[in-house]
């Protein structure tokens, strides 16, 4: 009749779990149910040794419906997107895509986005790219910019207002 996680004293969030699994199906990814915890993903996880990310545990918690715990954690932001977990999983589960879904959920719920993502998003909004033309220093300490190298002008959205109109709509939507 009821299942309670004694560490958090909370019940599984089955509606959030369904939302997540529906999203995975929409994006052609396998749902979490088939995972049998072989931990091949974690054994090969590029982010595990440095940042203690355990992709199999993320999937196990998702199976159990303990979404809030995941969405509120910092560990979901440590994924390196190397995609080895998705490539090698014998049950076609993709922990990397589940992590993207959890991160999207965290952002949508108003949590503060860590690191430089906000800056990149703002740059995309204003000029279409994650950053503007940068200065580079050569091995001999000369400073150069794009124009000085004889390269053609940057390709970016021609009608910025139309571009922004398109993106603004999406900010409110979920997959």
């Amino acid at each position: 009749m009821s299942i309670i996680d004694l560490t958090s004293m909370g019940e599984p969030q089955s509606d959030l779990k369904k939302e997540l699994n529906d999203r995975l199906t929409k994006l052609q990814d396998e749902i979490s149910e088939y995972c049998f915890q072989c931990a091949k993903c974690t054994s090969g996880c590029e982010a595990h040794k440095l940042l203690e990310l355990e992709p199999h545990k993320i999937v196990a918690l998702l199976k159990r419906g303990l979404i809030n715990e995941l969405v509120n954690s910092d560990v979901i932001w440590t994924c390196m997107t190397c995609l080895k977990c998705r490539e090698r999983c014998p049950q076609r589960v993709a922990p990397v895509e589940i992590l993207f879904a959890l991160k999207n959920m965290a952002v949508a719920s108003g949590k503060q986005i860590p690191g430089k993502y906000t800056g990149m998003l703002q740059s995309i909004l204003s000029m279409g790219l994650i950053q503007d033309i940068q200065q580079t220093t050569t091995r001999t300490n000369k400073i150069l910019k794009r124009e000085e190298l004889g390269l053609p002008p940057l390709s970016k959205p021609t009608d910025v207002s139309k571009f922004q109109a398109g993106i603004m709509k999406i900010a409110m939507e979920k997959v």
């Binding site: 929409k26 994006l27 052609q28 590029e46 982010a47 440095l50 940042l51 932001w77 440590t78 994924c79 390196m80 997107t81 190397c82 995609l83 080895k84 998705r86 490539e87 993207f100 999207n104 952002v107 949508a108 986005i113 690191g115 430089k116 993502y117 990149m120 998003l121 995309i124 279409g128 790219l129 994650i130 950053q131 503007d132 033309i133 940068q134 580079t136 050569t138 091995r139 000369k142 150069l144 794009r146 190298l149 390269l151 940057l154 390709s155 970016k156 959205p157 021609t158 009608d159 139309k162 571009f163 109109a165 398109g166 993106i167 709509k169 999406i170 900010a171 939507e173 979920k174 997959v175």
Partner: protein
């Protein structure tokens, strides 16, 4: 036979990793590839996947639609962009409802994604389309047995189920191109390890640790240089090599070049034209050593 592609530059290459763009523009036309500069492209959206994947799909779809409008296939030098665009095609082709949804959003810019066109990266462009024989024909200054290792990165190899430029577990296309240049390609156990770049956004120290660890392993095996095929990987291995060395407390001294730079040198193109001064790693070790 001339092959024509729209060049999709992405964000990092045109704003920072100029050497890649320079070496691409120098070498590819000589190999029979015509690159068309198209206006209006934007970020592919991959860095935004953690924020809102719908935004990523939209951004990728708009870029694909722009190329379609010009009736051009896309040449995508950045591995992250290549994955974003390919994955977008895969999702839109497999899920008609999503395709309709994205297209309804694209009307704001007067764009529409209709059909799947070719999205190609430098590795499969050189190996599959140009071909090893043609590359050999253009090699004027072959390297003699220089021991170079290839770094493929992650995003052009995985996930294999949507189709990637090379095999996910045993990629060999770069090695075959290197052989055509007279290089002795070196295999190493850490070949499939990640460069760490995706963590730059929020865990830069860990990102640099990954870079440093891989370079250290390469250095310890007597390998004379590393080639890469993605501006993010190159940014880590080359532009940030010193910092990476500091992070793992090791003195790193590995020459790192874009594959197209090494290709250009073998084709006899002058190093200034290939942006070699922009490499921060000690590439002169290669230029002086084996290039005639």
């Amino acid at each position: 036979m001339k092959k024509k592609f729209a060049l999709f530059p992405g964000c990092l290459m045109p704003t920072e990793q100029y050497a890649y763009e320079l070496s691409i523009r120098e070498t590819l036309p000589l190999l029979g590839v015509e690159l068309v500069d198209v206006e209006g492209f934007s970020c592919c959206g991959e860095p935004m996947k953690s924020v809102n994947q719908l935004l990523t799909l939209y951004l990728s779809a708009r870029n694909l639609a722009i190329a379609e409008k010009h009736h051009l296939d896309l040449f995508v030098p950045c591995a992250m962009c290549h994955l974003a665009l390919t994955e977008c095609q895969h999702i839109l082709e497999e899920n008609p409802a999503m395709k309709e949804r994205i297209n309804s959003m694209l009307t704001a810019e007067g764009l529409k994604y209709i059909e799947r066109r070719q999205v190609i990266h430098i590795v499969d462009l050189l190996h599959d389309q140009v071909g090893i024989e043609k590359i050999k024909e253009h090699v004027k200054k072959p390297f003699t047995g220089l021991k170079i290792a290839a770094h493929y990165g992650c995003h052009i190899l995985r996930p294999s189920e949507i189709g990637r430029p090379d095999d996910s577990e045993n990629p060999q296309k770069i090695e075959e191109i290197l052989k055509a240049l007279g290089v002795e390609p070196m295999s190493y156990p850490q070949k499939l390890d990640c460069c760490g770049a995706p963590l730059l956004a929020n865990k830069p120290e860990s990102a640099l640790t990954k870079t440093g660890q891989k370079l250290q392993a390469i250095q310890e095996q007597g390998i004379q240089g590393l080639v890469d095929v993605c501006p993010w990987c190159h940014k880590m291995f080359d532009s940030r090599q010193t910092k990476a060395g500091e992070t793992v407390a090791a003195k790193l001294d590995v020459p790192v070049l874009y594959l197209t730079q090494l290709l250009g040198l073998a084709m006899g193109i002058r190093s200034e034209k290939l942006g070699l001064e922009l490499n921060l790693s000690p590439v002169e070790k290669i230029q002086l050593g084996d290039v005639k």
